[in-house]
């Protein structure tokens, strides 16, 4: 078990290293283009050369990578040439905003999709099952930007209930959080609910559920004690990996509602070639994704005694 955890962590470190190399090579392979991005289109070659000299860009690629990676590990993320401030200063508050968004999404997503998925899977083919299945196909088929459009048309322009942007210019406003959370919730809900439903439906057809029923146990106990435990192993992994998906959704939603989060920062940085911000954002995103995957893997083995004790 300890070895397993050690293995997962070493894999995590290797992945991070591989991704960082890839990212570094893609973005900083040619020093000339880096200088153009940092100093702008109209900088002279001389200016560029001075800048490159100052920042050690004439060293070989591998050497530059290690310097870069070392700086990264010590929290030295470089400076945003667009905002002219250290990257950390803009990155951390943005990340916090996104964490708030993600937290509320999960706070609704997990109970709703698990409960509805379980209810649907419990009695496969029932009316409830069919209704939930259709709703979940529908919501997974609507991209986040489209549901944002539809919901805005209804709640913002039609009914005037909610604000249409979530810039939070005059401080934190919970009302402005509702639309982004709702959009993210809708898109991910269908996926998690379907997974849970499939997992539950499969468990319900297993011989050990038949054993439990034919033991004369009350239906409640069959579900709560015998079915749920096994049925929730798969959705657990899915939910953890959903964080990865959420990161994608967050970019769209933050862009749409002008929410000052991490995703919007990454997008702006990419559109403006703000190279050090891109690097920092990408590494953070990969770290979050890989870390949740590691936690999901370890959690899975704890949930599943067949793996835990072998």
């Amino acid at each position: 078990m300890l070895i397993f955890i050690a293995k997962r962590f070493s894999f995590m470190v290797i992945t991070m290293a591989a991704v960082s190399i890839l990212l570094f090579v893609v973005l900083e392979f040619s020093p000339g283009s880096v200088a153009t991005k940092v100093l702008g289109q109209f900088a002279t070659d001389e200016q560029k050369n001075i800048w490159l000299e100052q920042h050690g860009y004439f060293d070989p690629l591998w050497q530059r990578y290690f310097v870069w990676a070392g700086n990264f590990l010590t929290g030295e993320l470089g400076e945003s040439h667009r905002f002219k401030v250290p990257v950390g200063e803009i990155l951390w508050p943005r990340l916090w905003n996104t964490a708030v968004l993600g937290f509320w999404t999960f706070a609704f997503l997990i109970p709703f999709s698990l409960v509805l998925g379980v209810l649907a899977g419990m009695r496969e083919g029932s009316k409830l099952d069919r209704t939930i299945s259709i709703i979940s196909v529908l919501t997974t088929s609507i991209p986040e930007f489209a549901s944002a459009v539809f919901l805005s048309a209804l709640f913002v322009f039609g009914l005037n209930w909610l604000p249409g942007t979530s810039g939070m210019i005059s401080g934190f406003d919970f009302k402005q959080l509702i639309m982004p959370v709702l959009v993210l919730f809708l898109y991910d809900f269908g996926y998690v609910a379907r997974m849970t439903r499939a997992s539950m439906a499969e468990v319900m057809t297993t011989p050990y559920i038949r054993t439990a029923v034919l033991k004369g146990l009350p239906y409640r106990q069959v579900i709560m004690k015998h079915a749920l435990r096994n049925a929730l192993i798969a959705p657990f992994t899915v939910i953890m990996l959903q964080l990865n998906w959420l990161l994608s959704g967050v970019i769209v939603v933050e862009f749409f509602f002008a929410y000052k989060g991490f995703g919007a920062l990454l997008l702006e940085a990419s559109l403006n070639q703000d190279i050090f911000v891109i690097e920092a954002c990408a590494m953070v995103a990969v770290f979050v994704a890989v870390a949740t995957q590691t936690i999901a893997d370890i959690g899975y083995t704890f949930l599943n005694p067949r793996i835990r004790f072998s």
């Binding site: 609507i142 930007f145 990865n244």
Partner: protein
């Protein structure tokens, strides 16, 4: 992204037969109907579109406005530049139905080769390919697209490459899982005992029997690729502007959504209905294959 546990068994039927039995699944029928509708629209775009999608007619026309100059009714109105939204949606169908299947096919070609190699040969191949796949899959997809496209520029070719790069590992995982299962079948052992080459076994003995789950996965994935192309368009990273593209249409009209909601709602309905079509078809296929 598909649920493999519920996917059909490899023994399940040829694709043609599955589609024939779809008659028994109304969900699958609706899905097929939606897809066929958009395929028809895309195929006959030049005949169906009342106007040139790039022609500037009359800006900010609401749906149903009569356009005097051409003597036609603009059923879905025009956008901020005065281009006919109906024509743009029709031509947009063509764009999406070219790039999405192309990207999916490329991703499948790479994914199947990698998956067969990893799943059938096991050992060293498997370790290396699976690790690479895991690393790519651990990358949040959209972040990947944004970086790739922001770095290399937005073009149809780059979009296809980016989607292939990001989707192939997922397909590899599925193919690998199926191959790992199928390689233990007695008929594979039988072909090994008559000295068949690995290539023959992979292509004749394993791949055809994995097609059931792969077809279902392909439908779901195609839907997802359509969403991805839409999202990239919406974020301004899609095809270069004049080309009609549903995501891009939403992006351009975003600022005017309050006054002219039709400009954003219509392309959104288009993309959602097409994705829904593929998801329903996948569900129908899954349902039919489970019934046997």
């Amino acid at each position: 992204m598909t649920d493999i546990s519920k996917a059909p068994t490899p023994s399940a039927l040829s694709a043609l037969r599955s589609i024939a039995i779809l008659r028994e699944s109304w969900i699958g029928m609706i899905g097929t109907g939606l897809i066929l509708f958009w395929v028809f629209v895309a195929l006959f775009a030049p005949l169906l579109a009342p106007h040139d999608p790039l022609a500037i007619l009359q800006p900010f026309a609401k749906p149903g406005t009569f356009h005097v100059k051409s003597g036609t009714t603009l059923w879905l109105g025009t956008d901020n530049l005065g281009r006919d939204i109906l024509s743009r949606v029709i031509w947009g169908a063509r764009t999406v139905l070219i790039y999405a299947p192309l990207a999916t096919v490329c991703a499948y070609a790479v994914g199947i080769i990698m998956g067969l190699a990893a799943g059938y040969h096991r050992g060293w191949w498997d370790t290396v390919l699976s690790r690479i796949g895991d690393i790519i899959l651990s990358f949040p997809v959209l972040v990947l697209y944004i970086i790739v496209i922001a770095t290399f520029g937005a073009s149809g070719f780059n979009i296809v490459i980016a989607i292939t790069f990001a989707s192939a590992p997922g397909i590899m995982r599925i193919v690998r899982g199926l191959a790992l299962d199928l390689r233990n079948r007695d008929y594979v052992a039988a072909s090994q005992t008559r000295g068949e080459t690995s290539f023959y076994i992979m292509v004749v003995e394993i791949l055809p029997n994995a097609r059931g789950p792969l077809i279902v996965d392909a439908c779901v994935r195609l839907g997802y690729v359509i969403i991805t192309i839409g999202v990239l368009g919406f974020l301004g990273l899609g095809l270069p502007p004049p080309k009609p593209d549903w995501g891009g249409m939403v992006n351009e009209a975003r600022g005017m959504a309050m006054i002219f909601p039709h400009m954003t709602i219509i392309p959104c309905v288009a993309i959602s209905s097409l994705v829904l079509g593929f998801n329903l078809l996948a569900d129908g296929l899954r349902e039919v294959s489970l019934r046997d």
